[in-house]
């Protein structure tokens, strides 16, 4: 066994004493809920598709294990390594998105998937955290280098990514990334004037999307006027919440999962609320909120601008995805296919989330940012542990 004394200089010991353990605990809690919910919600789906009862459940266990290990490994990295990882993976993910446009398999009208080693991967899922970290770097550069306009580069990145995503087409992810970008721009110190200009442009763009993408129009129309019909999933979800009551119907006794096609993915929150009731539903909301708020407060104390921006960007990405999923489940928003982090079934989204949370865990470590490590590539020449972090911490 590795001794985990505070003065231990082994990198794992260092990791243990610098990691935000409450944050880690919250994520592990979500993973456990995801594990339970997959067993509750997926057998009926598997049954309906006439495949092995625990097909989804077993796969999800494997994915959860992979995600956990991946997240821990990423959280062991130092900020500069995080950034290199993000840029490397980002380029690969962009390439992957391009590739899907050429050879991707079409599922439900969009080409978002690539088959890699027998798995279906969705490159756009991995693109999101990498995009955020890279944009954060650009924004931070604005104040460290006067010879380059970081914001302009960040804007260019947004445009390129949006064009690629709209070609898939994956309008939901596109809107999500734009929102995160705008939030980061604001946090980085962007002017209110520019932000208002962007909001107006965004609204105009939404109107344009409404006009030009029929399924977008379909969903929005039906959200605003349910009497048009075609709101089957929403109606069933509302029924499920009502049916759940305070303590739920009990595990396995929920009915919604028998009638919803997306009971194990997009509508897993409704399934959870039906079987476990308001109390557990509130607990899940609380854990999500706790993870987000704790990360934000922790990042607030960082003295490194890039760490601040990258961390908050990532947590906003995580938070927005959570909020959109829950709001759709609770019929506060028109239906948009968005998974509930760590709880919905789905390999790509789980692995991408592990990457996101691994990065956040790394960026919120006590040694990050506060010690003002670095915000650019010039650190390459000077080994970290010699210059800054006296506890070591280089892999």
């Amino acid at each position: 066994m590795i001794g985990f004394g505070r003065t231990d200089r082994h990198f794992l010991a260092n990791w243990w004493w610098t990691i935000d353990r409450w944050l880690l605990l919250g994520i592990v809690f979500l993973m456990i809920v995801g594990f339970v919910m997959t067993f509750a919600a997926s057998p009926v789906i598997a049954h309906r598709l006439e495949i092995d009862t625990y097909h989804f459940a077993y796969r999800q266990i494997v994915f959860l294990a992979m995600a956990f290990v991946g997240m821990i490994i990423v959280s062991l990295l130092e900020p500069v390594q995080i950034r290199r990882l993000a840029m490397g993976l980002g380029v690969m993910a962009l390439g992957g998105v391009l590739l899907t446009l050429m050879v991707g398999s079409e599922i439900k009208g969009s080409t978002r998937w690539l088959r890699v080693l027998g798995f279906s991967l969705q490159p756009s899922e991995f693109l999101k955290p990498c995009f955020v970290v890279t944009v954060a770097w650009c924004f931070a550069m604005q104040n460290t280098r006067l010879d380059v306009s970081g914001r302009l580069i960040g804007f260019a990145l947004l445009i390129v990514t949006c064009i690629l995503l709209s070609l898939q087409p994956d309008i939901g992810q596109m809107i999500l990334l734009t929102l995160v970008w705008a939030a980061m721009f604001f946090l980085a110190g962007g002017s209110y004037l520019f932000l208002s200009a962007m909001s107006v442009t965004g609204l105009a763009l939404l109107v344009f999307l409404y006009q030009s993408f029929p399924h977008f129009k379909f969903r929005l129309d039906r959200f605003l006027d349910p009497s048009l019909g075609g709101t089957y999933q929403t109606d069933k979800a509302l029924e499920a919440f009502k049916n759940g009551g305070l303590f739920g119907t009990g595990p396995g006794d929920g009915k919604i999962k028998h009638v919803l096609p997306d009971g194990h993915t997009d509508y897993v929150f409704a399934v959870a609320a039906e079987e476990f009731g308001l109390v557990v539903g509130l607990l899940i909301i609380f854990i999500f909120a706790a993870i987000i708020l704790r990360s934000l407060v922790s990042l607030r104390d960082s003295r490194d601008h890039w760490v601040q921006l990258a961390g908050t960007g990532l947590i906003i990405l995580f938070g927005l995805q959570t909020i959109i999923n829950m709001a759709v489940n609770l019929n506060l928003m028109p239906p948009k296919g968005m998974t509930l982090p760590f709880i919905s079934y789905g390999g790509s989204s789980l692995l991408a989330l592990a990457l996101t949370m691994g990065m956040i865990l790394s960026l919120t470590r006590h040694s990050s940012g506060q010690k003002r490590i670095l915000s650019d590539g010039s650190a390459d020449e000077i080994p970290l542990h010699k210059t800054l972090n006296l506890k070591g911490g280089v892999l």
């Binding site: 104040n143 939030a183 539903g281 601040q308 506060l332 650019d376």
Partner: protein
Amino acid sequence: MRGEVMPSLIRPGGDLVEATNAQLGIRLGDLEGHAVDITRRRIWLAVWVFTLIFTLLGARLAHLTVGGDGPMTVKRNTQPQVAQERPYIVDRNGVLLATQISAYNLGADARKVEDVEEMVAALAAILPGLNRQKATRFLSSNRRYVELMKGLTPQQYKAVLTLGNPALKMEKADRRFYPHGSLASHMLGFVGSDMQGLAGLEFFLDRSLEPLSQESLRDGRLPVTLDIRVQHSVRAELAKSIKKFSATGGSAIVMDVENGNILSMVSLPDFDPNLKPWNAGHQRLFNKATLGTYELGSVFKIFTASMVLETGAAAPEDTFQTSLPISIGRHEITDPHGEKRPLTVGEIVVHSSNIGSAQLALSVTPEVHWGFLERLGLIDKPELEIPELTNPQLPRQWGEVERATSSYGYGISISPLQALVAGAAMVNGGVMYRPRLINDDLPLGVRVISEETSTHMRQIMRAVVTHGTAKNARNSKFMILGKTGTARMAGPGGYDSSRLMTSFLGAFPAHSPRYAFIVILHEPQKIDGVYGTGAGWNVVPLSTDIVERIAPLLGVMPHPAYKPADNIILHKVREVL
């Protein structure tokens, strides 16, 4: 640390940038420190926004789950109350088919039991069906309520009362009782231990969207279209034949062609709804007449023939060459014992020619063909009050091969009920009635073929009896018409010639059919004294026996023109048609 700007240790861009900045009079450390402070302030805003949104989500969740008009949890426990209102079911003559009998459930407060052994002994003396081991275990526990036995008779109830033991608790829990046992089991269905309808009409009683109208109830009794006398005759004859031919099972339905009333519906083997039918097993619970779908074989040819006559693709006297097999793609269609001469549309049916039938089907366009099957309700799930219904199994494509094989009943599986409903429309003047078990409104019919086509179909189907594959029915004085089908059953390795399903879809009396029927035998075996295993040798005589028994009950008179078969002058088919 907070707010303190630490000296920068590393600078990007090296000296050049440093120099440029120095020229501009800017110290980068200040600039970045300033940006960090702005971000710090704005992160607070993000914290508040997230807090607000998550609070809203939580509030919305609370509102949806426990707010509004109360949770549904309350509703769930009220279901057993319907038990008291469950109507009796009677047949069309008022004969009781399903009723309630008084019964009681026995429980006990285990904490108040003083001597377990003594109590179990006392109870067992009254209740022969008591599980003594279980009762001992339950009574030895410390629970406030343990259930000892369900379904005590009034006599047993009285006897238990006289024990005078305050620990024993009894409550009235009426039980559903079916006086005729298994006779109409598949039609009536059954109820679960808490009187919830689980199958058949019992299921319908719980689930029908609208409450039963008062017109459909007579003194709290629900009359159904079934005639228990007919049902008894049909079931008895079917059971006899199943035994005689060592068949694995069979089914039969009798329907009034003028309104769709189902007079009898039998699927064998069946079960006794009084005796925990849910334990009866799939074989017995499965309703072959409505839930099973089968490739009915040649019975389908009547639909093919009526299609070409109705659409005018061929006139009754047009002939088709059937002496040579025809090839469609890699598929070859042959006739087992063909007539080596051109056949008319009617003769194709009478002699059951696959080659001819395929040509008939291909004489119309795929759209017309599909549309006609759709019009006859052979593409969709049929409608009936019971829940044991299913979609037909249709070919995945609709090319020439599929159309040709389906013209003689292969590659398309439908339920016997569907075949009967469509078949009745062939002979009743061309109107297809929605089948029904509850006769509470005007019959629902749509015209599917013209009266003229229907007349042709009657002639053709009568000729099947007088000159074709159903000659064993020609002696009936009730003038049967119909069409036989002998289909090989599909097994894991393709069609199995040793496993046949024989069927007869018919109606009587031929000159003006009033009742249609379909009778099916699964895997009948060859027996001594009978020439073959085809439909003509087992299911046709069976149908004749059924008709001979039920026609008098239904008030159908023997035909005045009836003469014993020996005296019938056999015309050539061509002249008859």
